[in-house]
Structures are given as structure tokens and as C-alpha cells.
């Protein structure tokens, strides 16, 4: 047996297994391993910072939601009114409530406020007011939006008390509980109808002009409402996208309270292809010119609470600065110079932006930047769109979403017989 296994030394050894002496792992491999480990630790540390930032952002989102949904019971701080006045009222009524001659009545030493006190201020802030009004013997005929959907009871009480006591030297005050009562009773009502509307509210109100007679409802009003609420065999109802109250959602715009001429122009632009959107192109294809005017009047005359809230993580302070002052280092003019104080819109050409859906605003600005929306008169918006960065778009959109919606302005209604139609000048 042993003989067979014995190798003939002249033959090659076939059972030989080659092997290597164990060698040291080369140094570079250690270096690479150590470098990878260090990199891993650095990444872990960075990641935990990133997660902290993410958590903070989420926390600020839920704070905003809590602030928006829970009624605040605590008594207001005494100096809160001044800051709230500066943020919400000063852009129209002036920093010291001095008003603007012929356009916006004063809140400082106003005879309307003096007669009505803090409770009348609350009523006006809650519903808004529009139409002929006389304050301190001067005539006004403007529109003030309702703040019901953007200020809570505590804020409105602070503002009303500040205006009553600091600007008019009155003793009368309201408590958040009283504001809550006024809210339940009246927040859904239409804005006060100018001075004549206030007559029932305020005893001893100085003489006021008669209200303008509202335009007679169009004979087709019922058909228009049916079109808006139910659509036709061919087109979906406007309300199914724009909301029952025309408040919009995400990239679908708020229509309520925009100037009818502006709305009609947009619908014509969709029809003629100067403004492009697949859903709206489909809708307008089967609308007649008359239906377009009726629908524009229908939404223009609609007053509804804000359906927007800041949701793009924009920097609200930066947004406010862009809206009020612009940013000349980037060639951005103040939005409100064209879109009106507080973004309530000006006349037929400059649409209201207050309470517009933030995703819609940011999306439109981005489309102007990219050139896919190009229907603003004289190309006014195209340059502005190009100058705004992504962060600025979100900042200004979120700020505008936090403002109270413009009240409907019946004076702007279009005549249905109008045959001349507004068309885009195609820039």
C-alpha cells in the first residue's frame, strides 16, 4: 500500500497544492479602509444635522396648522395690537392710520370709529366694507377685504382695541369672546354696503351717502350658476375644480372676487391659444363669448373666505419685503405697486393676488420665467418672473396666501351685450 502512494521522484508531484505564505495586507488598503470609516462617520454626523433641520421644518408646518385651527382663548397682550395693525392695516390706512386722500379713509381720529367704538371696528374688519362712505366729511368709495379668514379672535380684538384707544382715544374695548360672537353671527355675510350699510350698526353715525343700486341680476343668472356648478354634457363643472366658492386649490386658481374683465381676458386667451393649459383649453372650447362674460361676472361678484394658506415653506418675511418694497438688487419691483395695496387688485388689468393659492402663484411665476405663460400686457410679468429665484417665488407666494381675499366689486361687472372682447396683445 505504501508503495503505491509513494511518488516516483522523477515524475511531477500531482498532489502538490500551491500555496502562498500569508502576506501582510498592503498599507494602502488600510488607508482606504480608514478613510472610508472616517467618511462614514462624517456622513452620519451631517445626516443627523440634516434630520434636525428637517424636523424643525416639519415642526414649523404643524405650528402653523395649530395656529390656524385652534381658537385662542388667552387675553391679548397690550402691545400686540400695534404690531398687528402694522402688519395688516398700515399697508392701506397708513402707518399712523392717516389714510390716503380720496382713496382710503383715516383710522386716526375718524368720526365713524368715534361713533361706533371697538365693536364697530370689529364688525367692519370681520366683514369688510365697500361702497360710498363719508369719513370726516370726505367722500370715499373703495373696497376693504374681510379679515375673518386670516385673523383669529384674539388678533382682531387686539387690533380693534388699538385703533379705538391709541388712534382715537376711546375707552370702549372688545374681548376675544365678544369677537367670537360677532364672528359666528356675521363672518359669512357680504361686506358692509358702504356708509349706508353701517347706519344700522352705529348709532349717531354722521350723514352717509345712499348706497349704489346693485346692478340688476342678469336674466341668465340661473343658467350661469348651473353651468358653473354642474357643467354640461361636454364640460366638467367649474366648481368641481375651482371649488364651490371659487377659492381654488393647489395649482387651480382662486377666481372669487377677481375683476370680471381680467377673468374674461384669461378665458379668451385660453380659447385663442395665447395662454395654454390642457384642462382650461378643453373647458373654454365649448363656451360662447356670452357665456364667458356671464361666468366672469359670476365669479367676479363672488365674495368668499380665503381657501389658501402658506404651504411652500417660503420665508414669509422675505415674501412681505418683495411684495411691499421689491428687491432692486435683483430688479424686482414691489408687487403691490401694480397689484394694489395688500394685493387686492387694481381695476381691470391688474388681478388681485391676496388669498390666491400659493402653488398656483409660484407655478405661474415659474411659467413666466420659462416662457410658457406669456400673455401679460406689455410683457410686464415676464421680466419679473425671470428675476425671481425659486426661494423668492415660494416666499412671495406664501406671503400672498396669508392675506385676506379682496371683496367682490360689483362696479367692475361687464355688460353682457358687450361685443368688443378683450384680447391679449400677445406678448
Amino acid at each position: 500500500m505504501t508503495d503505491k502512494n509513494k511518488q516516483d521522484p522523477r515524475l511531477p508531484d500531482e498532489t502538490f497544492e500551491p500555496y502562498e505564505e500569508p502576506r501582510r495586507i498592503p498599507m494602502p488598503v488600510y488607508w482606504i479602509a480608514i478613510a472610508l470609516a472616517i467618511w462614514g462617520v462624517v456622513m452620519l454626523v451631517q445626516m443627523s444635522y440634516s434630520t434636525k433641520i428637517g424636523d424643525k421644518e416639519r415642526a414649523s408646518m404643524s405650528d402653523q396648522e395649530v395656529a390656524a385651527t385652534t381658537p385662542v382663548k388667552a387675553e391679548p397682550k397690550p402691545d400686540a395690537g400695534k404690531a398687528l395693525f402694522a402688519d395688516n392695516c398700515a399697508s392701506c390706512h397708513g402707518d399712523a392710520g392717516e389714510g390716503v386722500a380720496d382713496a382710503i379713509p383715516p383710522l386716526h381720529a375718524s368720526d365713524v370709529v368715534k361713533a361706533g367704538g371697538a365693536s364697530a371696528i370689529t364688525h367692519i374688519v370681520m366683514r369688510g366694507i365697500g361702497g360710498p362712505l363719508i369719513v370726516d366729511k370726505a367722500n370715499y368709495d373703495g373696497e376693504m377685504p374681510s379679515f375673518a379668514s386670516v385673523l383669529d379672535d384674539k388678533d382682531i380684538a387686539s387690533i380693534a382695541n388699538f385703533v379705538a384707544s391709541d388712534l382715537n382715544g376711546l375707552k370702549s374695548t372688545v374681548t376675544p369672546a365678544q369677537v367670537a360672537e360677532i364672528r359666528t353671527a356675521s363672518a359669512d355675510l357680504n361686506p358692509w354696503d358702504g356708509g349706508s350699510g353701517l347706519a344700522g350698526l352705529i348709532n349717531g353715525l354722521p350723514a352717509q351717502p345712499a348706497s349704489e343700486t346693485a346692478p340688476a341680476p342678469s336674466p341668465d343668472a340661473a343658467a350661469t350658476a348651473a353651468l358653473a356648478m354642474h357643467g354640461t354634457n361636454e364640460i366638467w363643472s367649474c366648481a368641481s375644480c375651482h371649488g364651490d366658492k371659487g377659492e381654488g386649490t393647489q395649482t387651480i386658481p382662486r377666481l372669487a372676487g377677481l375683476a370680471p374683465a381680467y377673468l374674461a381676458k384669461q378665458l379668451h386667451d385660453f380659447k385663442e391659444g395665447t395662454r395654454i393649459n390642457d384642462s382650461m383649453d378643453y373647458v373654454v372650447k365649448s363656451l360662447s363669448d356670452k357665456q364667458i362674460i356671464e361666468l366672469a361676472n359670476y365669479y367676479g361678484a363672488m365674495s368668499s373666505p380665503s381657501g389658501a394658506r402658506p404651504s411652500l415653506e417660503g420665508d414669509l418675511a422675505r415674501g412681505e419685503k418683495i411684495a411691499l418694497e421689491g428687491d432692486w438688487t435683483k430688479n424686482v419691483p414691489a408687487c403691490f405697486t401694480c397689484h394694489g395695496p395688500s394685493g387686492i387688485g387694481v381695476g381691470d388689468k391688474f388681478p388681485g393676488l391676496a388669498a390666491q393659492q400659493p402653488a398656483y402663484i409660484a407655478h405661474q411665476l415659474a411659467m413666466w420665467q420659462g416662457g410658457s405663460r406669456h400673455n401679460s400686457p406689455l410683457g410686464l410679468m415676464a421680466g419679473i418672473g425671470k428675476s425671481l429665484s425659486d426661494a423668492d417665488r415660494r416666499a412671495v407666494a406664501d406671503y400672498l396666501a396669508s392675506l385676506p381675499p379682496a371683496a367682490a366689486n360689483a362696479k367692475l361687472a361687464l355688460a353682457v351685450s358687450a361685443t368688443t372682447k378683450e384680447t391679449s396683445n400677445g406678448q
Partner: protein
């Protein structure tokens, strides 16, 4: 190969370490965080519609995971806020998706709430967007001479409407649209919500740089 035992042990150890870090620990974290507080469970119709969504393979073209502002302009597209794990608590199997041939659908109920639009679009996407490459789903609908009471008639432009009679939605189409209309994750995310926050640090630095430049 005379030292296979240590080789097998080392490779199994590497695999189980990876499984621990990539599967088991995240799984435990997700299980611990539970459903987002604002999330509502599906209604019966929505749950049936979800089953249709899964069986039609909508996931192959549509994701359900909007990204953060730091990563992509999904918010400006109207696709909603960045999702966190708790938003998917009732989704088995989840429909996160990997491809965005079409838009993200996590918040489609918020962006296109119209039942009519959704039905027309499912019946024939080209009736709305001539460039769409989304398949039509005509078998979710029935052609009838006349609509019976309770039928939902699909609104169609003349080019796509049948010569006679009407197109009505079958139950599957109605359920699928209920599911789409219910896709609204518009509540604030839980503060400790889990997601990949990897881009936040970079975005914060960028933001600080911009602010520094602007104040100069």
C-alpha cells in the same frame, strides 16, 4: 479553497449587518412612528379603488412620493409637501413607484378634485391632452343607449363621444376615482416624521449664502 468556513462566516456577517442597518432597524423605526396624526383610513370605496389602482399597474408610471423643496420644485408643481413614512401607514403594498412618466399622484385629490375630469381622463387621456402617452382604460366604462338612473355619464368632447348613446362609468372606474379624489395629504406632517432629509443641510447652507449676498 481550504479556508471556506471563515469566508462563509465573514460574508454572512456582512450580509446580516447590511440587513440589520438597511431593513431591520428602519423597519423598527417606521413601526414605532405609526400613522401620521392627520391621516384618515381609506373608506370602503377608496379601498376598492386602491385595489384597482394596484391591479392596473398605475405605479409603473406614477410615483406617490413628493420630494422636499430642497430636492425638487414638487411643491410649486402642486404635488404637495414632502411625504413622511407615517403617510403610508394604511398602504400595503405601498405604491411609492420608481418612475415619473406621469406626475406624482400623492396629492392628486387636492390638485384635480374633479370627478368628471378624472373619468374623462381615464376613458381617454388624449381627449384632454393630445400629447399624453397614458394608456386609455375604456374597459372600465360601458357604452349604453341611454343612461339608467344612478349612472354616472362621462363628459366627452364630440371627437371622442360615441355617435349614439352614452359612455357610463363602471363601478371599478368610480371606485378608482374615489381613491384618487381621496389622495390628499394636506395636513401638517408629524414633527418626528421619517424621511430622507439628506438635502436639508445643503439647502440651508445655500439659503444662508443667498441671505448673506442679499444683505451685502
Amino acid at each position: 479553497m481550504n479556508r471556506y468556513l471563515p469566508l462563509v462566516i465573514v460574508s454572512l456577517a456582512i450580509l446580516s449587518f447590511a440587513t440589520l442597518l438597511l431593513v431591520i432597524i428602519p423597519g423598527m423605526q417606521i413601526a414605532k412612528s405609526g400613522a401620521s396624526p392627520g391621516l384618515k383610513p381609506y373608506t370602503v370605496a377608496e379601498a376598492r379603488g386602491r385595489a384597482v389602482y394596484v391591479s392596473m399597474g398605475c405605479l409603473y408610471c406614477h410615483s406617490q412620493q413628493p420630494r422636499d423643496e430642497a430636492q425638487a420644485p414638487d411643491g410649486e408643481r402642486g404635488w404637495g409637501r414632502a411625504s413622511v413614512s407615517g403617510d403610508y401607514a394604511y398602504d400595503t403594498p405601498h405604491q411609492l413607484g420608481t418612475m415619473r412618466t406621469g406626475p406624482d399622484l400623492m396629492n392628486i385629490g387636492d390638485r384635480l378634485p374633479s370627478q368628471g375630469w378624472q373619468l374623462t381622463h381615464l376613458y381617454q387621456p388624449r381627449a384632454i391632452a393630445s400629447w399624453s402617452i397614458m394608456p386609455a382604460y375604456p374597459y372600465l366604462f360601458a357604452h349604453k343607449a341611454k343612461a339608467d338612473p344612478g349612472d354616472v355619464v362621462v363628459k366627452l368632447p364630440p371627437a371622442y363621444a360615441p355617435k349614439t348613446g352614452v359612455i357610463v362609468a363602471k363601478q371599478d372606474a368610480l371606485d378608482l376615482v374615489s381613491y384618487l379624489q381621496g389622495m390628499k395629504h394636506d395636513y401638517a406632517p408629524p414633527t418626528d416624521g421619517l424621511r430622507d432629509d439628506g438635502y436639508e443641510l445643503m439647502a440651508a447652507q445655500q439659503h444662508n449664502n443667498d441671505a448673506a449676498k442679499a444683505s451685502k
